[in-house]
């Protein structure tokens, strides 16, 4: 296997981060773990944005991933973290395969609203489930990796951090190859002009379907890792404002590079946590201005989104 420059630099950064984890204070490790786990969910959002769809309901798969990990430990005795994470991805794929049949018929705002609707339906179902703790959710504990259990809190935090970095690296490399491969390029073509893709003999609908299912799996992985790191899951993971946060981060980073969501997630987390500490009463405004600032002053970050010609402008 030949690794290109991007993949090698990604691996180098990952190794540096893992080493950094040994010398950082606990709060920073936790912040980075959550940021990178979120970035995985955002990768799912970005994958769909590249094909022209904005998913306002990616929280659905984020929540499925998290709850599967939690329920696996609580109800089904699945304590191995890797098994639980994989199970989460499988469940998400199954759900996506069903929902995708309906959703890929829609575009633009209708796709966004329907995806939002389904994530809110999951939210409603979880809220009405007292066995799952309703809105209080439940805690995720006692997980192991291939039989080895981390002892004590700090070690378990560190383990999740390393696990997240490695998962992030694997996903990043896979997505990088995906975007460079035929399928990734054709997804961008679907965004540009669906009708022409049809004329090429391909089906945009099934391309979007495959994209949707893959994005669901990646997001579920992010959800599962968040559950392991935080030790808690609750239905808020499926609420639309959580999905809005993912879109925020996706736009912050832009679609240009596979590392962008990771960087954007870290920037977002840092800005938010310091905003909460320094201006506890107006931190939302700071976030809003940051987003506006990025959109207005750094349009190049959003260049691939911006460069798309609006349908109809070619009269």
């Amino acid at each position: 296997m030949r690794f290109d420059k991007t993949e090698i630099s990604l691996a180098a950064v990952a190794i540096a981060l893992v080493l950094f984890g040994f010398v950082s204070p606990g709060w920073l490790i936790f912040l980075l773990t959550i940021a990178f786990a979120k970035a995985l969910v955002v990768q799912g959002v970005v994958m769909q944005m590249r094909s022209g769809l904005v998913s306002f309901g990616q929280g659905l798969f984020y929540c499925i991933g998290g709850y599967t990990v939690g329920m696996g430990g609580q109800f089904f005795g699945i304590h191995d973290a890797i098994a639980a994470l994989s199970l989460g991805m499988l469940v998400a794929i199954a759900v996506a395969m069903v929902l995708g049949l309906l959703l890929t018929r829609y575009r633009d705002i209708f796709f966004a609203m329907l995806s939002l609707a389904f994530s809110m339906i999951l939210f409603g179902i979880l809220v009405k489930s007292p066995e799952l703790g309703s809105t209080d959710g439940f805690n995720v504990h006692n997980w192991t990796i291939f039989g080895w259990a981390p002892d004590g809190g700090e070690s378990s935090q560190h383990t999740v951090f390393t696990l997240t970095i490695l998962a992030g690296l694997v996903i990043a490399v896979l997505i990088h190859r995906y975007t460079k491969a035929g399928i990734g390029v054709i997804c961008e073509a679907v965004r540009e002009n669906e009708v022409r893709v049809e004329y090429l003999g391909l089906s945009p609908r099934w391309l979007l379907y495959g994209n949707y299912v893959s994005a669901a799996a990646v997001s579920a992985l992010g959800g599962g890792l968040t559950a392991l790191a935080t030790g808690h899951v609750d239905p808020e993971m499926a609420y639309w404002t959580t999905s809005g946060e993912f879109i925020f981060i996706a736009l912050l980073g832009g679609l240009g590079h596979v590392a962008a969501p990771f960087i954007a997630a870290v920037v977002f987390s840092v800005v938010r946590t310091y905003a909460i500490e320094l201006v506890p009463h107006t931190w939302q405004m700071i976030l809003g201005f940051t987003l506006l600032g990025v959109i207005v002053f750094l349009p190049k970050g959003l260049w691939s989104l911006v460069s798309r010609k609006k349908a109809g402008e070619r009269a």
Binding site: S24, W27, S134, D136, E236, A259, I263, V271
Partner: protein
């Protein structure tokens, strides 16, 4: 495909990260060495829970910390600060969900190096933070959250405490009040917010009613979405069933809207409202709530707090600072801070010594301490959960003044499940061992 944004972002993020690290390390050094006792206080500063809960709590914390630092409290709390060390309070926002709160808790403990944490209105946040408190070995007091699951799921907690009451006490007390004042009532109904707080409250209420008011039946129950704000259809659905009692665990803006709308449509004239969190809006209802509406304060708090020396003093300074009487969240915050102070000063430490988490935990576990609400006994949850009585009374508005009349109180032993027994089981068994007068 590198572009300017990626490069710019890389610089931006490395710069911010470097800044974060230095700031973190710097603040870390200062916190650990300045000889003050740093308390992290977590409550809602934004969102719908800020007005009814977060703001009164934060206000109470501020006014109490200021007075403590000047040593102005009545005995036995007249020592300055915490054990002679000045208090530094860091107040942060509880908004953002449980995942966010776990992150902020870790920041408080590891970055801002607080010596103790007091906070949490939301049950979800309490449940998420409890295991982290154990992991980081930080003395933490939950002052308001009501979930009965807290010490069921954390039965071997060492550092997590709760000076507020278990929510099952609210509804057991409510039914006992009905049994005492309206024993012939038969048609009960309820409207709860559709989330765990509302669902659990209704479950406790209906189970207790089945035992203490065996002739009664539930004629209607409604579960609107939280923050819905408009209850036209729900009020109609309740009205057509002609209930005698309308129970609600609503709080905040939803509660005020419900009272306004139900009253305007006559539901609260035909039936009697029973609001378990009603006292929080005592000053707001004015003539929009009927006289006779039953309200509670989740314990002997707010307007139900006794006229002891501590409470009289507390009401005085709170009034002086904010021109308002303290409502129950404010009383509960004061109670938590007093519990912390009691634990620190009864741990056998030298003057101005900062107690460790272990010392604080030992000082509060199973303790009995004087508070603004009377005596608090940490008699449940293995010495980590407070037990107190509860009072309910009727709202009365006359000549521009709101007050509570026909108040009935029940002792802790009457409404609190015994150690080791879950509320649901205790109710189902018919309250064995309850000592009511």
């Amino acid at each position: 495909m590198k572009n300017n944004k990626t490069t710019f972002s890389k610089y931006l993020v490395s710069g911010v990260a470097a800044l974060a690290l230095t700031a973190g390390l710097a603040s870390g050094a200062s916190a650990a060495e300045n000889g003050k006792f740093r308390i992290g206080i977590v409550t809602f500063l934004s969102g719908p829970a800020a007005g009814p809960f977060g703001v009164p709590s934060a206000n109470a914390a501020k006014v109490l910390v200021e007075a403590l630092n000047k040593g102005e409290l009545p005995a036995p709390y007249n020592k300055i600060g915490i054990n002679g060390a000045e208090i530094e309070a860091v107040i942060i926002d509880e908004a953002g969900g449980a995942t966010k709160q776990v992150e902020e808790y870790r920041n408080l403990v590891q970055r801002q190096k607080v010596d103790a944490v007091i906070g949490y209105v939301s049950s979800g946040d309490c449940l998420a933070v409890a295991p982290v408190a154990e992991e980081l070995k930080t003395f933490t007091i939950a002052y308001d959250c009501g979930t009965s699951r807290l010490f069921v799921e954390n039965s071997d907690a060492k550092y997590m405490f709760r000076t507020g009451l278990d929510a099952s006490v609210d509804n057991i007390g409510a039914v006992r009040y009905l049994a005492a004042t309206r024993p012939d009532v038969t048609r009960l109904s309820g409207i709860q917010q559709n989330y765990s707080w509302g669902q659990d409250s209704w479950a406790d209420f209906t189970a207790a009613a089945a035992k203490l008011l065996p002739e009664s039946e539930i004629v209607e129950e409604q579960f609107p979405k939280i923050y819905q704000g408009q209850y036209g259809a729900e009020i109609s659905a309740l009205s057509v069933k002609r209930p005698e009692i309308v129970h609600s665990s609503f709080w905040g803006g939803d509660m005020e809207a419900l009272v306004l709308q139900a009253n305007a449509r006559g539901l609260l004239e035909d039936a009697t409202g029973l609001l378990t969190c009603g006292e929080a809006s005592l000053a707001t209802y004015k003539d929009q709530a009927p006289n006779g509406m039953i309200i509670g304060a989740r314990g002997p708090f707010g307007a139900f707090a006794p006229e002891n020396e501590l409470n009289t003093w507390f009401k005085g300074v709170y009034n002086a600072a904010y021109d308002l009487d303290p409502v129950y969240p404010a009383t509960k915050m004061a109670q938590a801070i007093l519990g912390l102070k009691f634990a620190a000063e009864n741990a056998g430490l030298a003057d101005k010594e900062i107690p460790t988490a272990d010392q604080l935990a030992a000082g509060l576990k199973g303790a009995s301490f004087p508070s603004v609400s009377g005596t608090v006994e940490m008699a449940r949850g293995n010495g980590h959960q407070a037990m107190q009585g509860i009072s309910y009374g009727e709202y009365h508005y006359e000549d521009g003044k709101a007050s509570i009349v026909n108040s009935v109180s029940f002792s802790g032993e009457c409404v609190t499940p015994p150690e080791g027994v879950s509320a649901a089981d205790w109710i189902a068994q018919g309250f064995p061992g309850a000592q009511c007068n």
